[in-house]
Symmetry: C2
Subunit: 245 residues, 2 copies
C-alpha cells in the first residue's frame, strides 16, 4: 500500500489517496482517532472513482466527523483509470440494448455483467482490507456498505472480518447470488428505492427475504435509483455504530 497524496479537509478529516499494486483507492480517517477505530469499506457501482467521488467522500466525511469511523474505497476492475475489461464492457452494452428495447433482461446478460466482477473484485477488497488493517490508526471492526450488492453478499459470506453490511438493493442480481444470500448471517441494513427503473422491486424484496441473518432491516424510500434520500445517511451510520462499537 502506497500513499500518493494526503489532504486535511476543512472538517479535519484526513483524506489519503493510495495505490495497492495497480488498484487506486482512497482512505478517510477521522481528525481525532478513537480506539478502536471501526472501518467502513464503501462500495460503489463500476462507474469510476472520480465520477463517484462526491457521493463517496460525502459519506466518508460524515462517518469520520460524526462517528469517528475510518472509511476506504478502491477502484473496481475495468473502471476508472484501470485497464479496460472488454468482456464486461460487452455485457454492459448488451444490458443497455436490452433495457432500451424495453424487454426483460436475460439471466445470461446479468450473469455476464455481475459474476466476473464479483469474482475479481472480492479478492481485491480482501487484499485492501489486509493492507488497511495493518495501518496503526485502524483496527476495525469492519463494515461494508454500498452498491453492487452482489459484491457485498460475497464479501459477507467469505470475509469473516466484515461483521455488518449496509447494502443497496439497486442492481441486477444473478440467480446464483440469491443462493449465496441464504448463507449471509451478519446484521444487514438494506436500502431499496421503490421506483428504481432498472431494478425489479419484487426481486429486491425476495433477496431481502433470502438473507439468513436474524437482524436485518429494510429501508424503502420513494424515487428512482439515484434518489436515496439524504436522511438515510444517519440511520446508516447508526446501524454501523450499533454493530461496530
Amino acid at each position: 500500500m502506497h500513499f500518493t497524496s494526503e489532504n486535511r479537509l476543512d472538517d479535519g478529516v484526513i483524506e489519503r489517496a493510495f495505490t495497492l499494486g495497480e488498484i487506486p483507492g482512497i482512505l478517510w480517517t477521522p481528525a481525532s482517532a478513537t480506539t478502536p477505530t471501526p472501518l467502513i469499506l464503501i462500495g460503489h457501482p463500476p462507474l469510476g472513482l472520480s465520477r463517484m467521488y462526491p457521493r463517496l467522500a460525502g459519506r466518508a466525511r460524515y462517518y469520520a466527523a460524526e462517528y469517528s469511523f475510518a472509511s476506504a474505497t478502491i477502484e473496481l476492475p475495468g473502471s476508472g483509470d484501470r485497464p479496460r475489461w472488454p468482456a464486461v464492457e460487452q455485457a454492459r452494452a448488451d444490458l443497455r440494448r436490452a433495457m432500451e428495447a424495453g424487454g426483460p433482461v436475460g439471466d445470461e446478460i446479468v450473469d455476464a455483467l455481475v459474476l466476473p466482477l464479483v469474482e475479481k473484485a472480492v479478492p481485491e477488497w480482501r487484499t485492501a482490507l489486509d493492507a488497511l488493517l495493518s495501518l496503526p490508526e485502524i483496527d476495525g471492526p469492519v463494515g461494508y456498505e454500498g452498491g453492487v450488492i452482489s459484491i457485498g453478499i460475497r464479501l459477507a459470506v467469505v470475509e469473516p472480518r466484515i461483521v455488518a453490511a449496509g447494502l443497496f438493493a439497486g442492481s441486477l442480481v444473478p440467480a446464483a447470488m440469491f443462493e449465496e444470500a441464504r448463507q449471509v448471517t451478519i446484521p444487514l441494513q438494506v436500502l431499496l428505492q421503490w421506483d428504481d427503473e432498472g431494478n425489479d422491486r419484487q426481486a429486491a424484496l425476495d433477496l431481502f427475504d433470502a438473507f439468513a441473518t436474524k437482524e436485518k432491516t429494510l429501508h424503502a424510500n420513494m424515487g428512482g435509483h439515484t434518489g436515496v434520500p439524504q436522511f438515510e445517511l444517519e440511520p446508516g451510520a447508526r446501524f454501523f455504530a450499533r454493530h461496530l462499537r
Copy 2:
C-alpha cells in the same frame, strides 16, 4: 378535558391522566417546554390503556426527554374501562376462530372488526386534539403514530392538523381503507414486521405502495407482531423531528 392526576416522573416528564367526557387518556409533556411544542398522538391496538401503558409511556417519555415533544393517547371505544361493545367483541371472536382454524380471514370479519372502530375512534381522536391544542403548553404541529393503521389512515385523510404519521403495518386492513390510503399525502414512516403471524406481508407492502404521499419510508424488520426492535424508537422520533420542527 378534566385532569384527574399529575405525576412528575424521574426523568422530569410530567404525566397527567385526564378524562374527556367518558374517554380516559394520558398526556405526557417535557420537563422543559420549548416553543413550539409538537404533539404526537400515540395510537395503539384495542387492548386497553392499562395493558398498553408500559409501551406507550416508554415511547412518550423518550419523545419528551430526547426531543421535547408532548405526547397523548386516549382509550379506544369498547376497550379498557369503557363500556363494552358487543358487535366488535363478536367480530373479534369471529377473527380468533378463523385464525385458529388456520383458514383465511374473510373480508366481512375484517370489515366488521375495523370499520366501526375507525368510524367511532377517529372523531374521538379529533375531539381530543381540539382539547389538547387548547392547552397553553401545547401548540403543535401534530403527528400520529402507532397501531390500528386504519385509524391512522383515516386521520391522515380527514384531519389537516396532522402533518406526519408513523404507522405500524401490523393489523388487518379492510379493502375500503386501501382506497383511503390513496388519498394520503402527508409524510409517512411505516413499520412492518416481516414475519408477523396475523398479518399478510404482501398486503402490507401493497398498502405501503398505495399511499399517495411522496415522502414515505418503509422500515421492515424481522420477527413477529410484537417484535419491533427497540432501535426503531430513535428513527421514529427523527422522522417526526424532520416534519414537526
